[in-house]
Homo-oligomer: 117 residues x 2
Amino acid sequence: MKTVLPPSCPMEALLRVITGPWTIYILWVLSEQGPQRFGAIKRLVPGISTRILTERLRMLEHAGVVWREQAMTIPPAVTYGLTERGAELRGMLDTLGAIARRWEDEGIFAEVRSGTE
Amino acid sequence: MKTVLPPSCPMEALLRVITGPWTIYILWVLSEQGPQRFGAIKRLVPGISTRILTERLRMLEHAGVVWREQAMTIPPAVTYGLTERGAELRGMLDTLGAIARRWEDEGIFAEVRSGTE
DNA sequence: AAAGTTGGTTACTTTAAAGTGCCTACTTTA
DNA sequence: TAAAGTAGGCACTTTAAAGTAACCAACTTT
């Protein structure tokens, strides 16, 4: 999603971090289930490919939202979890989720879907 | 961004409404400048094409975030504005924007960009 | 009489991103 | 002995979305 930022806008930058397929769901999993290993996350996010999961976790790590801890064993055991910044994001996502659920109850999204398909 | 919704998730649905290039900026313009006519919005969102602007406004209208009022004059005069639901979204976007600005001050996004380019 | 205004639509092209499949190197287990 | 699990990497294909450009109706102004 390479957006031509209309003006330089921190909001667009933040949205680039949290949007895109799977991202929110990955954060949700780490938030609800606590720190998890790569394979566990993959199982908790059914359908995601390893490539995309790796990419998203790396991006979230760069953004300081997720930490990564690698045990140098063989095979390696890599664990991911939410940082403080991630938790901060989580509170906001809860608000977002509350609005989303209210809208869903009001039947908004069905219309949106039918309007864009 | 046709997302394979992992589980049925209202949050993903909401994000489909507010994300994508220009969308947030359009909402911001309507929020700050009040209701505007099509041409005015186009001028206030420099660089956007009429096709994308039309598509976004239609989508936001379907989502009940924006209202549309067409005067059947010639040439037609079409005005768009934020609905109550749009205003509700606006409060949330303010929160989002506050977090975004704080992160920007902490220099997060530069890293994210360099990490994904 | 020609050009401009307004709010689009339609068709075509381009591109960024997501998906898919195959590979590693080592260990444990069946 | 071979299969499966671990955490990815790499190359190729596919596709959805954005960009680009041309066109339209109908009326007004120059």
